[in-house]
């Protein structure tokens, strides 16, 4: 009986276990060295990642509240991998921070929340998981305790999160009224596309749109990304977003399948708006974190384009893209984080002439940005190509044409950063920076991921073999 629960829940249990272990250390040990703790945590996270790869049977627990399968396990593994990279990259910043343990406790709490959210088979469970992750995330974005900007970000984040949660809850309750159920398997049977149901769906969609920063619900993104510590911004932009996208696409493809005709058109509209707005704002940014924030809005638009394909290729390309996006975005954020931690400089102008003293960091940044822009042979090229290809599957060629042109616009601001790093010079360029071992490993992982995930066709084929569609 115990194995029947323990094995399917092993990823959640492992994360919770690490969380409690850290709590005991915090409470029990009067003195500890931050460096040792950080190394220990990273080893535990690595163990957590490895554990996820052991085979696990499909299972449904707690009367259909929680279900797991090979695809869901893969998604959790992707999130585990991303969390490990974020943690490795945060080393430089946390070493000087007095509350490193609390950082990890909050981080792991959000991860647990995401896991339950992805695995949920019921809107109640889904909401529980989402809230379990949102509240610690708010605390995390205010984690630079001495900085005013950071608390401002936390405040903005909590207000917008509360707003979006309210929308979600309203949507859920209306949906319950319309269908008489909260279970993922019962709802689709009772969906007939009536105006009332559509209204409930739109509220739900708006709640989701907040979390994945889709225009017009994106306004919080840039400010929160800019104010939060870089590690938290990185986590927000890939892990949090990725997790919500995982459950979003599952919900659309299974629960709301009867409304496919309706949400398809809505998503196309949202996608175009999101891509354009993200791009146009990104063009004029000088702060790199803000630039990456707007670029991440644009990337959300591209992911939505993939979802509109409503096919197995759509599902597969979204998961594949998020995996690639984790490598690319974390590579870029990692460099920003390291430079910000050691010099406090975050503007594009500060990066002028970076190549002269820091060729390695420059190349990591360049490769990550090329991947974000979708330039071959980086994985980003394959990710974008397949996303847009999946989006074109329903014959929306004009829409895909707009998306392709948006890729060209996006290239401009990525190239601006490349230009600053490689071509420009300034009177006081950033000097030679020391890259500690752990961030170095993270950079290695990111670059290897960017170079390998695309060219190796089996990665996509594997994801495709697990994905759902109709």
């Amino acid at each position: 009986m115990w194995t029947g629960i323990m094995v399917p829940l092993r990823q959640e249990l492992m994360v919770t276990l690490i969380l409690f272990l850290l709590l005991f250390i915090k409470v029990g040990a009067s003195e500890y060295r931050t460096g040792t703790i950080l190394r220990l945590v990273n080893i535990l996270l690595l163990a957590n990642l490895v554990l996820g790869f052991f085979p696990c049977p499909d299972a449904t627990l707690f009367n259909g509240m929680f279900h797991t399968g090979r695809l869901i396990v893969l998604e959790k593994n992707i999130l585990n991998l991303g969390t490990l990279i974020v943690s490795l990259l945060a080393y430089d910043w946390l070493k000087e921070h007095r509350q490193a343990l609390e950082f990890y406790m909050l981080l792991l709490a959000t991860l647990t929340g995401f896991f339950f959210m992805i695995s949920s088979g019921n809107l109640l469970m889904f909401y529980l998981g989402l809230e379990l992750s949102t509240i610690p995330l708010t605390a995390l974005s205010g984690f630079d305790l001495e900085k005013k900007q950071s608390s401002e970000a936390a405040l903005k984040f909590i207000i917008s999160s509360a707003f979006s949660s309210a929308l979600l809850l309203f949507g859920i309750s209306l949906l319950y009224g319309a269908t008489g159920s909260l279970g993922f398997d019962a709802i689709p049977r009772r969906l007939d596309g009536s105006a009332f149901q559509l209204f409930a769906f739109i509220l739900l969609l708006s709640g989701f749109a907040f979390k994945i920063s889709v225009v017009p619900f994106h306004l919080w993104t840039a400010d929160v990304y800019e104010g939060s510590p870089v590690a938290v911004t990185a986590y927000l932009s890939v892990i949090s977003k990725g997790a919500v996208f995982f459950i979003f696409i599952q919900a659309l493809y299974t629960v709301f399948r009867p409304l496919a005709g309706n949400w398809n058109r809505m998503l196309i509209l949202l996608s175009v708006l999101t891509m354009l707005t993200g791009n146009l704002f990104a063009l004029r940014q000088n702060n790199l974190k803000r630039l990456l924030a707007f670029s991440s809005i644009t990337q959300s638009g591209f992911i939505l384009a993939g979802i509109t394909g409503s096919s197995r290729a759509g599902d597969a390309s979204v998961i594949y893209f998020i995996l690639i996006y984790i490598f690319s975005n974390l590579g870029a954020f990692g460099v920003v984080s390291l430079i910000s931690a050691q010099t406090g400089r975050e503007n594009i102008d500060d990066y002028k002439g970076l190549y002269a003293a820091n060729p390695l960091l420059s190349w990591v940044m360049a490769i990550s940005l090329f991947s974000l822009a979708g330039i071959p042979p980086t994985a980003g090229f394959f990710g974008k190509f397949f996303l847009l290809m999946a989006g074109a599957g329903r014959g929306n060629y004009v829409f895909i044409g707009i998306a392709a042109l948006n890729m060209v616009i996006a290239l401009y601001y990525y190239l601006r950063v490349i230009k600053a790093i490689f071509m420009d010079s300034q009177p006081q360029p950033i000097g030679k920076l020391k890259i500690p071992l752990l961030p170095n490993i993270a950079f290695g992982l990111c670059v290897a991921g960017i170079l390998v995930t695309g060219v190796m066709g089996w990665v996509y084929d594997y994801i495709y073999s697990l994905s759902i569609g109709f």
Partner: protein, 481 residues
């Protein structure tokens, strides 16, 4: 023969260059790499001839196919016909020249050669691809290294030119991408296999839809009017080797793509759209020639004349007769060699005199006879002197174009022929001022002639020009068999 070697070899060279230390080793390794590329291309040529002589009439030879993305029906699929072999030879020639003229490049010599080698891998991969996804992959591989090459080692308004070039070329590839995706879904079959499209063409409606996208997209790479504006800025700001690659090979990627679109993917639509293509090509030819007359900078002269000369390629492709297509391919090879030689000599002159302005130069023949002679040869090739490759290519295009019935087509042909006179004006004027006449600046008197590496590059490219000019039949056979 394993065609993938053509891609693997530059990549291995790149890795070797990355790992080694010291400017001298970097140079030697890069040189060894490109020489091996050249040898490999000649081996390919020999093997290709042998196969054809043995009676192998398959449309593509040395085909290799490996499943890349099973779920999406995407293969790594390569193979060559005569046209590809010709383009591969051209690439190998230009690459050796490009490495030789950038022998003393500073700063960051290592990065320079790495980027150059990645470019060559992209070009080789593009010319051997038979799967449209593979083709597109290699097309895009060759965009960003150009941005870095121009932006880091360029001159003048280099950042502006690099950005303009990258964005315009990416816009081109976005159009190509859209065309490919439509082809994938609308043509039925859900595949990117160029050979399958060649055997059973997509429906006429699909062809009409994808042709403008693909042709314009590839056309941007080959300076299709009115999308030619990146050419003058890009070419003139680029360092010598990058200019050689840009004009010599990169613009041919577009031409080759257009050719494949016309011949294999959408022949029906190509015929329908041919009046538009020919109009644009004729405008490019005449406009390019007139614009060149107004230029004072040697690199701008060559860049604008490239627009005019690439117009011949598009004219030949647009006319679509067998002879015209042959002429278009010949023009691609000829223009590639000629313009690479031109940029190489301009680079040599600039290195010594530190100016490219025509009115400041003069009497170079007296101090640097070798450089001056190659300059004259490139010029004469450009204006179509018999015995050099330019003449052979252009006359074939004109003859092929004239075969196309219809008054308007004849008019375009006559217009294109007439542009040669303008070419003669600007080439002879530039040559007269730069090479002949009195020495304008006393400082020029002490300048040295070409060094061994520059001589080698010049001789190699001149040899290519003569090989086509004196004995065009081999290239003609290669393209048509």
């Amino acid at each position: 023969m394993t065609l993938s070697l053509l891609v693997i070899l530059p990549l291995l060279t790149t890795i070797a260059v990355l790992l080694c230390r010291g400017q001298y080793t970097v140079r030697l390794l890069s040189f060894a790499g490109v020489v091996m590329q050249l040898i490999l291309s000649f081996v390919l040529l020999a093997l290709y001839w042998k196969e054809r002589a043995a009676g192998n009439t398959a449309p593509m030879l040395f085909v290799y196919r490996h499943t890349w993305f099973t779920a999406l029906n995407i293969d790594y699929h390569v193979g060559v016909d005569g046209i590809s072999v010709a383009m591969i030879l051209l690439t190998a020639f230009v690459m050796v020249g490009a490495v030789l003229v950038s022998w003393k490049i500073t700063p960051m010599g290592k990065e320079f050669f790495v980027l150059l080698l990645i470019l060559s891998a992209g070009a080789f991969g593009f010319f051997i691809s038979l799967d449209l996804f593979t083709l597109f992959f290699f097309l895009e591989v060759s965009v960003i290294p150009k941005f870095l090459l121009i932006g880091i080692w360029g001159s003048g308004r280099k950042e502006y030119s690099a950005m303009k070039l990258a964005l315009m070329l990416m816009a081109g590839s976005a159009l190509v991408f859209l065309g490919l995706v439509i082809l994938y879904y609308a043509a039925g079959g859900h595949h990117f296999d160029m050979m399958a499209f060649a055997q059973s063409h997509p429906a006429a409606a699909v062809q009409r839809l994808v042709f403008p996208l693909l042709f314009t997209g590839f056309g941007i790479f080959t300076a299709l009017f009115p999308f030619h504006t990146w050419v003058p800025d890009g070419h003139s700001s680029a360092p010598t080797a990058a200019s050689m690659f840009l004009a010599g090979i990169s613009m041919k990627l577009g031409g080759y793509g257009c050719l494949r679109t016309v011949l294999m993917l959408a022949p029906l639509a190509a015929e329908e759209y041919s009046p538009y293509i020919i109009t644009l090509a004729a405008i490019a030819i005449v406009y390019g020639a007139f614009a060149t007359m107004m230029q004072r900078d040697l690199k701008y002269i060559n860049a604008y004349s490239s627009i005019s000369h690439c117009g011949f390629i598009l004219l030949g492709i647009g006319m679509g007769t067998r002879t015209a297509i042959t002429g278009a391919v010949m023009q691609m090879v000829s223009h590639g060699l000629m313009t690479a030689l031109f940029f190489a000599t301009i680079g040599m002159i600039y290195d010594r005199t530190h100016t490219r302005m025509v009115e400041k130069l003069g009497g170079l023949l007296k101090m640097m006879p070798f450089i001056a002679t190659t300059f004259v040869i490139a010029g004469l090739c450009s204006l179509g002197l018999p015995g050099l490759s330019g003449f052979v290519a252009e006359i074939t295009v004109f003859m092929g174009s004239w075969q196309h019935p219809g008054g308007a087509y004849h008019f375009a042909t006559i217009l294109a022929c007439a542009s040669i006179v303008i070419t003669a004006v600007y080439i002879l004027r530039a040559t007269g001022q730069v090479i002949m006449g009195p020495v304008k600046d006393p400082h020029y008197n002490g300048l040295a002639d070409a060094t061994w590496n520059e001589r080698l590059a010049g001789i190699l490219l001149v040899a290519g020009i003569f090989a086509i000019g004196v004995a065009p039949f081999w290239l003609n056979d290669l393209i048509n068999k």
